[in-house]
Amino acid sequence: MNENLFASFAAPSMMGLPIVVLIVMFPSILFPTPSRLINNRLISIQQWLIQLTSKQMLAIHNQKGRTWALMLMSLILFIGSTNLLGLLPHSFTPTTQLSMNLGMAIPLWAGTVITGLRYKTKASLAHFLPQGTPLPLIPMLVVIETISLFIQPMALAVRLTANITAGHLLIHLIGGATLALINISATTAFITFIILILLTILEFAVALIQAYVFTLLVSLYLHDNT
């Protein structure tokens, strides 16, 4: 039972070959390149969505921050599509792996911090001290701000991992509960199944929301530092 519960999170390999690389590259097939002026419905909707999202997300940035537009848009598309594909039965979600999320979060966060330190050294160092703190509190507050700065990449990665993993685990557990209850009492099984449906709806929302949150936070860190 324990082995089965977490088996879906193991990195998939077929006959010893790691196909996790193929799984990570798969969502990109679902976003075709627009090759004409008027495309099919899928491409039109995707174009419209990307326009909407990019306009909303890049509105707060200045010229320098907008050079990150491609990065942010591909980030939100990748995390969103990967999360949504993970909701299909028997599928593997790469974003449940902490290794991958750390690999996304740390370079992006480090990029924003280094950009800030390089171009606006004084302003980015000034972020360590909020405005209007009384004099005796300053040393402690600097330490606290430093800790909160260094926790940002960890928080980004762990937030995404924990949310998606928890959602998948809950779906698995409640599905198992439904399975177990069918032999005992059909009504309770039915109620549990309803809970499962509601949970699935939540998971769809969470999948998209987590993508959005990740990208939004990266863009906020960027905004602070450009």
Partner: protein, 275 residues
């Protein structure tokens, strides 16, 4: 590399940006165009790679049309061609029986195990089917509306340009028509000027006439005055001489006669009534 490429052949000139002669490996490629080919280890491999993978269509125009509807499917997954393929041997219900049999076989032999994941699959797939059935058409319409908006925008630009040009043509035509009617204006102006000239001429004529008449009148009045003066002079001269010629004796006699005559009249007068 023959001259004009055939319909299905790869137009090397158009495609890879001018790589013309593939028969000479590395010979016709300059380092400027394909620097990767200068590498002795990877050059031949790159050559073969770009020969195999068509990165572009063989000809640039015309591109094939996007089909208006997708392929027909049954149950949202299986193309209708499969049903057509099985029809001669198994009839209409063949594929359905096949599907049911496969499902029951995999369930009974536990090839497909019913686990917790089955229920999550049922809930996820059920939810997806519900959403697609309910909102699929409206999302499709929305996508079509996006395309239509794009086309309408471009069409509007085209129409605006056409309208602009049409307006310019109309303006030009009306201006040409105006130019045709310009002669009326010139006629009126010509008439005006002729009248003004005529007026001035007549005015001057009148003035000349007046001046001449003035001078002639002067001469006439001078003549008249001279004649009058002469007449008066003559009368005065005659009166003077007549008065001079009357002597004192004659004057006395004349006065005495007048008195006698008046006395006679005075005697006759009171016998007549006063009127």
């Amino acid at each position: 590399s023959d001259g004009a490429p055939g319909p299905g052949h790869w137009d090397a000139d158009a495609a890879a940006g001018g790589l013309v002669d593939l028969a000479v490996p590395g010979g016709a490629f300059s380092g400027r165009r394909a620097p990767c080919l200068k590498n002795p280890v990877l050059g031949p491999g790159v050559l073969q790679a770009i020969r195999i993978f068509h990165t572009r269509q063989p000809s640039l125009a015309p591109i094939p049309c996007v089909p208006e509807y997708g392929g027909k499917v049954c149950l949202g997954l299986i193309p209708k061609e499969f049903f057509q393929f099985l029809y001669p041997k198994t009839g209409v219900r063949g594929p359905y029986v096949l599907g049911t049999g496969l499902i029951l076989y995999s369930l009974s032999k536990e090839i497909y195990v019913i686990t917790a994941e089955t229920f999550s699959a049922i809930s996820t797939i059920g939810l997806l089917i519900y959403v697609v059935k309910k909102y699929g058409a409206s999302i499709g319409e929305f996508a079509d509306k996006l395309s239509e908006q794009k086309i309408a925008q471009l069409e509007e630009v085209k129409q605006a340009s056409i309208q602009q040009i049409q307006d310019a043509i109309d303006t030009e035509k009306s201006q040409q028509a105006l130019v045709q009617k310009r002669h009326y204006l010139f006629d009126v102006q010509r008439n005006n000027i002729a009248m003004a000239l005529e007026l001035t001429y007549r005015e001057r004529l009148h003035r000349v006439y007046r001046e001449v008449k003035n001078r002639l009148d002067y001469h006439i009045s001078v003549q008249n005055m001279m004649r009058r003066k002469e007449q008066e002079h003559m009368i005065n001269w005659v009166e003077k001489h007549v008065v001079q010629s009357i002597s004192a004796q004659q004057e006395k006699e004349t006065i005495a006669k007048c008195i006698a005559g008046l006395k006679l009249l005075a005697k006759k007068a009171p016998s007549q009534p006063v009127l």
